[in-house]
Subunit: 214 residues, 2 copies
DNA sequence: CTTGTGAGTTAACGCCTGTTACGTGAACAC
DNA sequence: GTGTTCACGTAACAGGCGTTAACTCACAAG
C-alpha cells in the first residue's frame, strides 16, 4: 500500500487537494503567497516561517515550492512584497475617498491603525523587518509620499509654514509607535486609539484652523 | 585520540576556556546571560537565539547550560529580564541627574534614544517581544512611572490641566515610534533624532511656558 | 592517600529544516 | 493510440535544534 496512516509534519491532515490543471499552475504560486501571508499573521516574524510550513498549509509537498520559487528566500521575499502591496492599497484607497485633506488624513490614519491592529503579524513583518530582503524601503515609501501630499495640502490650507516632509515623519513615527506598542503589549491599559489619533492631530496642529473670532 | 581536528558547530574555535573553580560556578551563569545579551544585539529576535548558540559563544558545551538554567526558555527569560534591568537603570539614572523636570525629561529622552539606537537588537527584543515570557510588562512599567512623575511635574509647573498618564503615553508611543522606525530602516533620510525630540517637546507643550509679555 | 563532589563533557535520541535527484500520473497534441 | 509535457510527489541528504543519560576529571576535605 502506498498510503499509510502515519501523519508526518509534511502530510496535510485534510483536503487531499486536487492538483491544478496544466496551464494554470501559477495558481499554486498565488496560494503559497497567501499561505505565507497567513503565517505572518500568527507568527509576526518572517524568519520563523519555514518553506515546509507554507507548503504544509497549502497541502502540497515541500518540493513543489521549487517549481514556483527559486528557494526559501525567494518565496519569503515575494510574500513580503505582496504584503506591502496590500498595505499600500489599503492606505491609498482610504486617502482617495475625498478631496478634503483633513478628512483624508483621518481616513488614512484610521486605515493605518486598523491594518496594524487587525493584521498585527503582517504589520510587524513589514516594519520590524531585520531580514535583508533587498529593496526593503521602496514599497513603503510610495505610500509615504501620499501622506506627504496630504500634509502639504493641510499646511497650505492653514497657512502653516512648516516643512511637510518633517511633519509627515512626525506623523508616521508617532502612529507607528502607537500601533506597535499597543499591538505588542495588549495587557497595558492603553487609551483608545481614536483618542490617541485625535491627540496626534491636535498636537501637530493638523486640524482645520478655527476662523478667527470676528 | 580524543581530540580531533573536525570543528563542529558545538566546538568553540578559540580559547579552550578554563573551567571555573568549585564554588564559583555561578560565574558561568552570568557569562551565559551576557552572551545571550550580545546575541540579542546582532539578531534582534529572541527566538532565533538557540541554547546551543549561547553555549558556543561562551565556549562551553550545550549541556553545561542545564546546570544553571532549567531549560532553553528559562535561559531566555533570565536574559530578557537582565536586559530590562539594564534599560531601566539607564533611564532612571538619566532622570535622577537633576530636579528640574524639563531637564530630566530631555535627559531621559536622550538616554532612551541612545540605548535604542546603540543596542537596537536588545531594544527590539524588549519591545517587540511576541514570545510570552510571562510577566512581560511589569519591568518596563516601573520605568514608565518615572516618566509619568516627570510629566506630572512639568504639567504642574505650567498650570497645564492635561492628564499626566495620557500625555506620558503620547510621549512614549512617539519616542518608541521614532527609534523603532529609524533603527529598522537606516536607509531612509530621517531628520536628526535631536530635532525630532525637540519637535516632540514642542508639539506636546512639554517645555517651560514662556512668561506672558507684560 | 583516599574520597567526594562540583563543573563540566561526550554520545545519542528524535525532530525539523532547506535542498537535490528522481519518479509518477493525468491531460493534451497529433 | 502514442508521446510529450506539465504539475506535482517520494526518498533521501546533511545539518541544526532541545534534551537526556552517563561519564571525566581537577581540586578540596578528611
Amino acid at each position: 500500500m502506498s498510503t499509510s496512516t502515519i501523519v508526518t509534519m509534511d502530510t496535510p491532515t485534510l483536503s487531499p487537494r486536487k492538483r491544478y490543471a496544466p496551464g494554470e499552475g501559477d495558481r499554486l504560486r498565488q496560494d503559497l503567497l497567501v499561505a505565507a501571508g497567513e503565517l505572518m499573521v500568527t507568527t509576526g516574524d518572517i524568519d520563523t516561517i519555514s518553506l515546509r510550513a507554507v507548503a504544509r498549509k497549502v497541502g502540497v509537498s515541500p518540493t513543489a515550492v521549487y517549481r514556483h520559487f527559486d528557494d526559501h528566500l525567494d518565496l519569503l521575499r515575494e510574500a513580503v512584497d505582496s504584503c506591502w502591496s496590500d498595505f499600500r492599497t489599503v492606505l491609498e484607497e482610504a486617502a482617495a475617498t475625498t478631496d478634503d485633506p483633513f478628512i483624508a488624513f483621518r481616513a488614512m490614519g484610521d486605515a493605518y491603525v486598523r491594518f496594524a491592529l487587525e493584521r498585527t503579524g503582517q504589520y510587524r513583518v513589514l516594519f520590524s523587518n531585520k531580514v535583508d530582503i533587498g529593496h526593503e524601503s521602496s514599497p513603503g515609501l510610495t505610500a509615504f509620499w501620499v501622506l506627504v501630499d496630504i500634509v502639504e495640502r493641510m499646511l497650505a490650507a492653514n497657512d502653516d509654514p512648516r516643512d511637510p516632509f518633517f511633519v509627515s515623519v512626525q506623523v508616521h513615527t508617532w502612529v507607528h509607535g502607537m500601533v506597535d506598542l499597543c499591538g505588542s503589549h495588549p495587557g497595558v491599559p492603553w487609551p483608545p486609539t481614536a483618542e490617541l489619533l485625535d491627540g496626534l492631530g491636535v498636537a501637530l496642529e493638523l486640524v482645520p484652523r478655527a476662523a478667527p473670532a470676528d
